[in-house]
Symmetry: C2
């Protein structure tokens, strides 16, 4: 397995600035990076685009817009203007995949109303995204994030949203960490044929060191990642496989050694991607 499809989300090497991340990934012969709005805007969008060109590096995805329910513990992306700026940054980076996070349950505890707000929010953003040539990626987060971050929590439910829209403009994002537990995963991935536009991987550690920042490098936890990758590819997805790891121990390690571990493991795998 070559590392042709390997992407590293910059959160995985959190202690590096955007510039350090691009240069570092290039040093490891990695051709894709998953970018976050904040660090890119801090560095300067035009400057970031030039740096990417200089290193012939492509952006697999940009995190993130959405939070259509108005609930976002992390700040940002809360209004239409912020979401439109996210679309523009994505396009400026030469990337066509912008991840959406739905937002959590409203104060009224009406989860169905919050879910309807997500569909309305995506619909409002679609014309802007279509004009910019950016596809919106609806990502189900893990059900443990339902209250605070995302009322969209299963693949089937995300597909219900995605199927409301033209495949040219809205697709599905799959992250192993968020979906591996789902007894309906096979049926959902069958149904997702032609609709997956983003794929992220990380592992579920046992025991889990932290509810948010305890994700594992693929191969170190309970998730059968190769099987999920195979099923994702079977839908027709041929894009980058992006390693996104929120983990305080990983962040405390030398980013170069983290990248060596990941690329070694990726190259050694007989199945596609870990």
């Amino acid at each position: 397995m070559t590392t042709e499809r390997l992407s590293i989300n910059q959160i995985t090497v959190k202690n590096w600035s955007f510039e350090e991340a691009v240069r570092g990934l290039a040093r490891h012969d990695i051709r894709w990076i998953g970018a976050w709005l904040g660090p890119v805007q801090e560095y300067g969008v035009a400057r970031a685009a030039a740096l990417l060109r200089e290193h012939r590096m492509q952006v697999s995805s940009v995190c993130r817009a959405g939070f259509f329910t108005g609930r976002n513990p992390d700040g940002g992306g809360l209004d239409q203007a912020a979401n439109e700026r996210a679309v523009e940054v994505t396009a400026a980076l030469g990337c066509d995949v912008l991840y959406l996070v739905a937002g959590g349950v409203g104060d009224d505890r009406d989860i169905e109303a919050s879910r309807r707000a997500v569909v309305r929010g995506v619909a409002e953003l679609v014309p802007h995204a279509a004009a910019a040539g950016v596809r919106l990626a609806v990502e189900p987060l893990h059900p443990m994030m339902c209250a605070e971050r995302s009322v969209v929590v299963t693949l089937e439910q995300a597909l219900d949203v995605v199927e409301e829209f033209d495949p040219a403009h809205v697709g599905l994002a799959v992250d192993t960490y968020n979906v591996w537990w789902d007894p309906a995963i096979d049926a959902a991935l069958d149904r997702a044929r032609g609709r997956i536009i983003g794929y992220q991987v990380c592992d579920w550690l046992v025991p889990q060191p932290h509810p948010l920042f305890g994700r594992g490098i693929p191969g170190e936890g309970a998730i059968d990642i190769p099987s999920i990758t195979k099923a994702v590819d079977a839908t027709g997805y041929v894009g980058p496989i992006e390693v996104e790891i929120f983990n305080e121990a990983v962040w405390a390690s030398d980013p170069d050694s983290v990248l060596t571990t990941i690329t070694d493991r990726f190259e050694r795998s007989t199945l596609p991607g870990f």
Copy 2:
């Protein structure tokens, strides 16, 4: 709303011994208790049964048997003999509902094999439970517990297990904390008609103070508990509504004041149970 259907799981008043819990609940005019094997066995099963009779208190459920996949971070209940003892203790307490916890994913990461092991495990225990007049309650845990505690994580999936067996011997247990996020909750509860034999409630706090021990007293979090109770009752369930709260702050409080809060809130609610 009278407190006729109110049950308190003894973990909610964790700092009380079994005897203190029974006497304390009786003082608050609560007629049901959810019991845990450990404290009951420590106190003595026959002695516990006598204490319950003395206070005319009924046991709504016993926690817990199962762990059929062999993975149990909490210890106990791992083999057939231990599960049979759990059935006997349940019957000796005059209770006919024994909660099962499936167990987490095996070391082989084969989640489907682990799920098949659960069905086999329940099947093995049914004859013993049937002979003792105890019903086995299959409980889906929250998906965040899939790796370590339960490969059964949705109502639909728990129903797939339950429907393999005679309703006289195997039923479904619903806990608001475990199922509230599920986009398929309405369809699943429709399907659960006549099969629910246990109902527990607690709330999802925002922010969540602890992944395991951060559950809230009903009314303090993001879950629309009255709507779920209504849907559970619509399946034909008329049994106790058991408040089971794992929360370090609740445990650090005076158990009497916790019970006052719960009973006040239960009595004030216009909908059935909170």
